[in-house]
Symmetry: C2
Subunit: 415 residues, 2 copies
């Protein structure tokens, strides 16, 4: 047998119905917030991703040469393609431009629980409005999507990259040394971060302050003791979040998101029941357009790990509606077959999802099949009933059976 | 600027709304016919496609070696992945198993009008029911989808590969020589097909018969003069199609679909306004499972070229609904900003798609932005109105303006 490639998945009808259900909830919430969908190709020039994340990214992604000798890569994430699209074609749209997207991403990494080589991201970007309220709008969208998904247990933590950056700078760290330190602080590996801060010339007291900051989590009161522009900005973001009715969002100055291009607020959403892989969403404000040949444009965005949030929802017992057919039509004999197809076509054109016997089975086997596919009613098309211009309708759940006129059938099944 | 790769496309919000609209129509029709969605990965082991289509396919597709040395290929079509999935995991499902799928496919070919390197297919397979009625069910689904899409001008032509095959065999053509001849006949290149038939030992009369057959198009009456099992089978398929209400489907014995694995009926749908690239759908009954290591299982399926049918619809003037916001909320002053966010959150939680000023613009500029994004109403949040627990609602189309109580706002906007 030919297997699917390692780290990829096929999805059964049951799985797809759950996935499409969550996808359409997310889409609905995004549209209600005034975001509109865009899409970009599955692969890009590899340069797009090395510009954003450095040449080492090539070790972790599917990169290859096409027949024309171009370096191509399957997209590992969707922000860079979205911003590349913006720079190429969307700069004349009214600002702010609010977009979302949903699709497959690819990473060549060791497959493990909650991590796949082909995975799905749902993300959004608000382009061109560097304001506390635009940041709050994006955090608010992420919160509304996750709330609407039905996930019960999650937490949203928001920080501002500028608070730590200015502390490092005040402590004497040169801007070129900051990224390495921030990356270690992001992962909370203090035994590596502290020596780096020492080498960068920081005093023990300043280092202690920085370490304490990265452990600062709580309500907006934790911002009281701080001063400076990033702190004031963050206060304003929280004011808007409260107007949006989001009371549970936490300040977390330890959210760093170890990437250079973040410029202001940063946020993460965790679903604690997922353990080590608990982060289901991450985002922040950033500028990438100038890297891709455009004018510098501030944006705020996030990506939700679609597979992870689904895993969290399933652990909480989520049940998505399944799309079994309503009616299964069975002719009792060879002579009734064409009549059965006519009835099937009628029901379908009335919007009733309908299957019909395609295997010329006997009545008993047809009932078994109807049960197996989860049909709600079996419509029995017999000679006797036909003489009265009727069919027999059997409710598979209750076992109840009754004669229904053909002209009433759609109406009866819709009740 | 970094460009998207050649032959690929980005999709704007307007384009995505049209595409999602058509996709959801197709999905609805497929579900109403009792088909359920499955999904497979974007890439497969290259072997899957060489087994189905021969090693030459590698010249036309994106094939590459992954970091583990595996030969990987971006999927050029979706039938082989679907049948691979069936063989691996779905053989215990009740038969017939009716599935559909939608997604990107990839071919490394010269981009031209209606042909892209990344393109989209919507397809369906009915697995495990080799009957005239199951074939008719699949043709019926394709017809219902295309009809429901709103395409006005299209034609469905159905043939049976067995009719030509038996004529060739009766004429003395050995089974190993038939595929090459059928491929030429499929493309109607008679000046290459005729010499091949001569070499294979056919008489001039038999060759003339075969050529005439491939030009036979019409109602079921064109089948009257023929005999044999395939002809009787095709008659039965058309009987069921008529019960389904499909009167316009044509018999076309020239539909060959030059691939070995077709076993019975074959069909194509054309949208004539597309000229040389007029085929929007192709399908037939086939068996592939045994190639992929499973038991031989007959299936009938089709693929619709999503991009082509969209192109045809657009040429016919299709207008899909666009998802502009209903309400755009504007605070008249700094002091009303938080009140504006509260109203925005209220409207959104009532399911009304709403945007809010995120740029601290003045009223005039806000009206311009509201126009530009196509909002239906501007909600003006002012001090005077707030004192009466109200807002001013302006209809952007009529210019009409009125005072509305906040508690009535959602209701008024929904009317």
């Amino acid at each position: 047998m030919i297997q699917r490639p390692r780290g990829t998945r096929d999805f059964t009808p049951q799985e797809m119905e759950t996935r499409r259900y969550l996808e359409s909830l997310f889409r609905l919430v995004a549209e209600t917030h005034g975001f509109r969908e865009i899409a970009t190709p599955i692969f890009e020039h590899a340069e797009l991703f090395t510009l954003k994340s450095g040449p080492n990214i090539l070790d972790e992604i599917y990169a290859f040469e096409d027949k024309g000798g171009r370096q191509i890569a399957l997209r590992p994430e969707l922000t860079a393609p979205a911003m590349r699209f913006f720079v190429n074609d969307l700069t004349n749209y009214p600002r702010p431009l609010k977009v979302f997207y949903f699709g497959q991403c690819f990473r060549y990494e060791r497959p493990q629980s909650g991590r796949y080589r082909e995975f799905f991201q749902f993300g959004a970007e608000l382009i061109g409005a560097p304001n506390p309220e635009s940041d709050a709008e994006v955090i608010g969208l992420a919160a509304a999507m996750i709330t609407r998904s039905g996930l019960g247990n999650f937490s949203i933590r928001v920080g501002h990259i500028g608070i730590l950056r200015s502390k490092l700078s005040e402590g004497g760290v040169k801007s070129e040394s900051a990224p390495a330190i921030l990356q270690k602080l992001d992962k909370k590996v203090y035994d590596e971060a502290v020596p780096l801060m020492q080498q960068a010339g920081m005093s023990d007291g300043a280092i202690e302050d920085v370490v304490a900051l990265t452990k600062t989590i709580g309500g907006i009161d934790v911002l009281q003791s701080l001063t400076g522009e990033p702190r004031d900005y963050l206060m304003e973001v929280f004011q808007v979040l409260q107007s949006y009715g989001l009371k549970d969002v936490k300040v977390d100055l330890g959210v760093v998101r170890g990437l250079d291009y973040y410029t202001g607020i940063v946020f993460e959403v965790d679903a604690p029941m997922l353990g080590a892989e608990k982060q289901v969403c991450g985002g922040g404000s950033y500028s990438l357009t100038e890297l891709f040949g455009g004018e510098k444009t501030f944006s705020t965005g996030f990506a939700i790990g679609f597979d992870r949030i689904l895993l969290a929802l399933e652990r909480e017992g989520m049940k998505a509606p399944q799309k079994n057919v309503i009616a299964y039509v069975v002719p009792v004999s060879e002579t009734m077959r064409l009549a059965a197809f006519k009835i099937t076509a009628d029901l379908r054109s009335n919007g009733i999802s309908t299957d019909v016997d395609l295997m010329r089975r006997n009545l008993g086997k047809n009932f078994k099949y109807a049960d197996a596919i989860g049909a709600k009613f079996v419509i029995i098309v017999g000679e006797k009933e036909a003489a009265q211009d009727s069919v027999t309708v059997r409710d598979l759940k209750t076992g109840e059976q009754r004669l229904v006129r053909r002209s009433d059938l759609s109406q009866v099944l819709k009740e």
